[in-house]
């Protein structure tokens, strides 16, 4: 009998009687990472990585019913051996490995294979069944090394700085923001929006070392902001506050920026193809490394990607889930904490 089933509540493990990233409330939810399309409020119990706990606390006020695990430590749930392996997607993101009577299944949530300097590096796990995303599951997506992208961002900031423009980087509060902070810190002060500052405090309390940032508040002078780097979540990029800054220049950091249509759509001043998802070669190498006999593709370019896997001899099937609503990154973090929208 298969270890997991795709139900209308989410991915279900019958043998262990728990769900992974369910989108309707259940008794026991195992959580891959803290993004809103993978965590729903209202489950009775949560199990996640140690560093996802501060996110659940900060965003959902969850604490008492959250159980945690470090990476690579096995526990037993109703006879199913469960352990977490780093997914490299954001801080605390984990692939869920299940083992029952010699049968191994890995649910990877979202992942990327390149080490980003802040999230624990992705680790391939051998298994029989692998559940994969395919957000960028088209051969048009091949990321540049992050050093190159950060060099471009630094140049852009420097150029803005010289021209009296204010540099505003648009990035997810969870994940992309910390990645930017970690890799850009040094030359310019970094100002972050509340939603990012709150998460950072949670991370700091959990022992994650992040470079110093300044929480944006109304008292900070516009010409001070002009000399620094501002990081805000996508929902605020078109807002009035941004327009009130001195010559705002908006740089969107997202994998969708790899394509001209994505860049022009946002009518941003610059687009940086910096993604927390695996690119096409990344998806393929990750899947091959699992040596899985069966691959389920849950979100993104599911139809295309699973068709291709079948053609290259990897048995695959697309499944419908509620993860990663298409165009999510372009439109903005629609499922984010509503507080962000009302600033």
């Amino acid at each position: 009998m298969a270890l997991i089933k795709f139900t209308n509540r989410g991915i279900y493990c019958k043998q262990g009687n728990f769900y992974i990233d369910p989108w309707h409330p259940v008794d026991y939810a195992v959580t891959t990472h803290g993004h809103a399309d993978h965590v729903k409020w209202g489950n009775k119990n949560y199990l996640c990585h140690e560093l996802t706990k501060p996110i659940l606390k900060q965003r959902y006020g969850l604490e008492d019913n959250v159980q945690t695990l470090p990476y690579n430590k096995e526990i037993d749930i109703n006879g199913v051996k469960l352990s977490l392996f780093p997914a490299g997607h954001v801080i605390g993101s984990a692939q869920i490995r299940l083992e029952y009577k010699g049968e191994i299944c890995v649910v990877s949530g979202d992942y990327k294979v390149e080490y980003d300097g802040i999230s624990t590096a992705f680790e391939p796990v051998k298994c029989h069944t692998f559940v994969s995303e395919s957000t960028f599951g088209l051969p048009i997506y091949t990321w540049q090394e992050q050093e190159l992208i950060f060099a471009q961002i630094k140049n852009w900031v420097k150029d803005n700085n010289n021209k009296g423009k204010t540099s505003i980087l648009v990035a997810y509060s969870l994940g992309k923001a910390q990645r930017l902070i970690k890799n850009l810190a040094g030359e310019y002060p970094i100002y972050v929006h509340n939603s990012i500052a709150n998460l950072n405090e949670g991370f700091a309390a959990a022992g994650v070392e992040l470079p110093e940032t300044i929480r944006i508040d109304i008292d900070i002078k516009k010409d001070e902001l002009q000399k620094g780097i501002i990081i805000i979540p996508p929902a605020l990029a078109d807002g009035r506050w941004v327009k009130s800054l001195q010559q705002p220049a908006i740089g969107v950091c997202s994998g969708w920026m790899a394509v001209r249509a994505g860049r022009r759509w946002r009518s941003a001043d610059a687009g940086f193809a910096l993604s927390d998802h695996a690119d096409w070669p990344g998806l393929l190498s990750a899947i091959k490394a699992t040596e899985a006999e069966k691959v389920f593709v849950t979100h993104g370019s599911t139809a295309v990607f699973s068709k291709y896997l079948n053609e290259i001899g990897i048995c695959s099937e697309e499944v419908t889930t509620k993860y990663g609503a298409e165009d999510d990154e372009v439109i903005g973090e629609v499922n984010e904490n509503p507080k962000e929208e009302t600033k």
Partner: protein, 530 residues
């Protein structure tokens, strides 16, 4: 190439005219002089002969990237641009080469006549020495087709600003006949080539839409009113025994309209006429759909010549006896025009577009309501003392169109857009009710704000019923008001009729799908409009 690549990025990132002009000016300040005529040629749609056909380019890209053809097609439908898709799917380049733009273009031109093997070797080599953005540009150079939202006017303004020259002179110059490999940038902006060229047309004078009541234009006696015709705006140039017909798209269309060729003998040398190419039968202007049968055809058969004979309704005269008279007042030019047309030996093919006599703005408004009956789109208002401006200028000429027809429809299919909108469902198909069924009536692409498109996009994501390649069938729920200019019978469409210029007028969030129009409503409109 690097500087040009930067220009393209700057042009693409902004949708503000001023930013684009600034980017162009700084390009003209810094770029290699030899590159500039090529850039101007490219941006004004002067296409060189395509050295390698699309099918081959695509085939080589597929081969090189090692992906199946269907996957390439899927990639293409996501990117929305073939040149860019190829640039993205190719394996990373192993070398780096920096050649100036004109050299790439010249080398590409030299591929004409080479064997496919030689072409392939050259193209593959180039791909292997350019980064993604440069590859994209290189692929565009092959197709010669750069659409990046730079109008001729914008380009001309930038060149004028860069060289501190008169913009109409530059417009003249770049609209004439020239080849980028035969002219220097200095010669081009100085217009060295245009005087010896018999064909050059003048830039068209264009009108803005009248946004206020005509009463605000002052005394009626200062204005000339004409019908606004729905055809192809054209310019007829007769110089030194040669005849040229230009369309507003700055295309030479002389060969397409043999009915007008008598002007070669009948029109005096040194005459340039402005007017509308129309289908005119028995003295009556036919609908645009009739004219359409005659457009962009290599050969014209007898029945087409018979069903859709061409006529030319003249509006204005720009050159008389070899002298540019665009600065003369309209009233004077009209007198000359009446004279010229009156002297034509063949009478009923090239006609004066009639001037509408009217006593008051109110009376004119009444007349305007009758425009559709004669296949006119409304009224043109031109100041009697106006000069023939270069391009669009506010104040002297206004178009006062009749309100479009509208119909309430429901969206039933959605497809992702291309170019800027490639990641969003932006192309919709709309249906009206026919009994219990929904029947497709129009496809439309524009008319929504970015915010609305995002909303529709998320509706489509949530309510897609079936996939057919890139097309999604969606729950018939969203009601849109579609505006259109005309309606005609059509055997090609399931509904038996076709709308002209359909576009989204409004998203009717206040209406439900059962409140939309029926096919019968449209049939009645068709009968009424015939």
């Amino acid at each position: 190439m690097k500087r040009f690549s930067q220009l393209i990025q700057e042009l693409e990132l902004s949708n503000k005219t001023n930013d684009k002009i600034a980017a162009l000016v700084s390009y003209f300040n810094e770029a290699n002089d030899k590159d500039k005529p090529y850039v101007i040629a490219m941006f004004t749609g002067k296409k060189p002969k395509r050295p390698v056909n699309t099918a081959l380019i695509k085939q080589w890209a597929i081969e090189l990237s090692g992906i199946p053809e269907w996957l390439f097609s899927e990639s293409y439908s996501s990117v929305g641009d073939l040149s860019e898709t190829i640039a993205l799917v190719l394996p990373p380049a192993e070398n780096a080469v920096d050649k100036p733009l004109h050299q790439w273009i010249t080398e590409l031109a030299q591929l004409n006549g080479e064997t496919d093997e030689a072409k392939k070797e050259y193209i593959l080599n180039a791909w292997n020495s350019l980064n993604t953005q440069e590859r994209f540009i290189f692929n565009k150079l092959i197709s010669g087709n750069f659409r990046i939202g730079v109008s001729n006017k914008m380009l001309v303004n930038a060149i004028a600003k860069h060289g501190e020259e008169d913009s109409s002179k530059i417009m003249h110059s770049i609209m004439g006949k020239w080849l980028p490999n035969e002219i220097t940038y200095q010669e081009l902006i100085a217009g060295a080539h245009v005087n010896t060229d018999n064909s050059w047309p003048y830039p068209f004078c264009l009108a803005y839409a009248l946004e206020t009541e005509p009463e605000n234009l002052g005394e009626t006696s200062a204005w000339q009113a004409e019908w606004k015709w729905d055809g192809i705006r054209g310019q007829i140039v007769k110089r030194n025994g040669e005849l040229f017909i230009w369309s507003r798209g700055e295309e030479l269309v002389t060969d397409q309209f043999p009915e007008l060729h008598f002007l070669k003998d009948d029109l005096p040398d040194g005459t340039v006429l402005d007017g509308e190419i129309l289908s005119v039968k028995d003295g009556n202007v036919q609908s645009f759909s009739m004219l359409q049968q005659r457009l962009n055809r290599k050969t014209i058969n007898k029945s087409q010549l018979n069903d859709a004979p061409i006529g030319f309704f003249t509006y204005d005269i720009l050159e008389h006896k070899g002298i540019d008279i665009r600065q003369e007042p309209l009233a004077e030019r009209r007198k000359i025009l009446v004279d010229i047309i009156g002297n034509l030996a063949i009478k009923d093919i090239v006609l004066l577009s009639p001037v509408i006599e009217f006593e008051s703005w109110e009376k004119l408004a009444e007349l305007r309501e009758t425009a559709r009956a004669i296949n006119s789109e409304g009224i043109m208002l031109k100041k009697l003392d106006s000069v023939f401006h270069t391009g669009r200028k506010r104040g002297d000429w206004w178009k006062w169109k009749i309100n479009p027809y509208t119909v309430d429809t429901v969206m039933i299919y959605a497809q992702k857009g291309s170019g800027r909108r490639a990641n969003f469902y932006t192309d919709y198909t709309f249906a009206v009710r026919d009994g219990e069924q929904l029947i497709t009536i129009a496809k439309a692409y524009s008319g929504l704000t970015d915010k609305e498109i995002k909303e529709v996009n998320s509706f489509v994501n949530k309510n897609a019923i079936e996939k057919f390649g890139p097309v999604r069938t969606v729950k018939p729920e969203l009601v849109f008001e579609i505006a259109f200019e005309g309606i005609a019978e059509s055997k090609r469409h399931k509904a038996g009729l076709a709308l002209r210029f359909p576009r989204i007028a409004r998203w009717r969030k206040d209406k439900k799908a059962d409140e939309i129009n029926t096919l019968d409503d449209l049939r009645q409109l068709l009968i009424a409009s015939q």
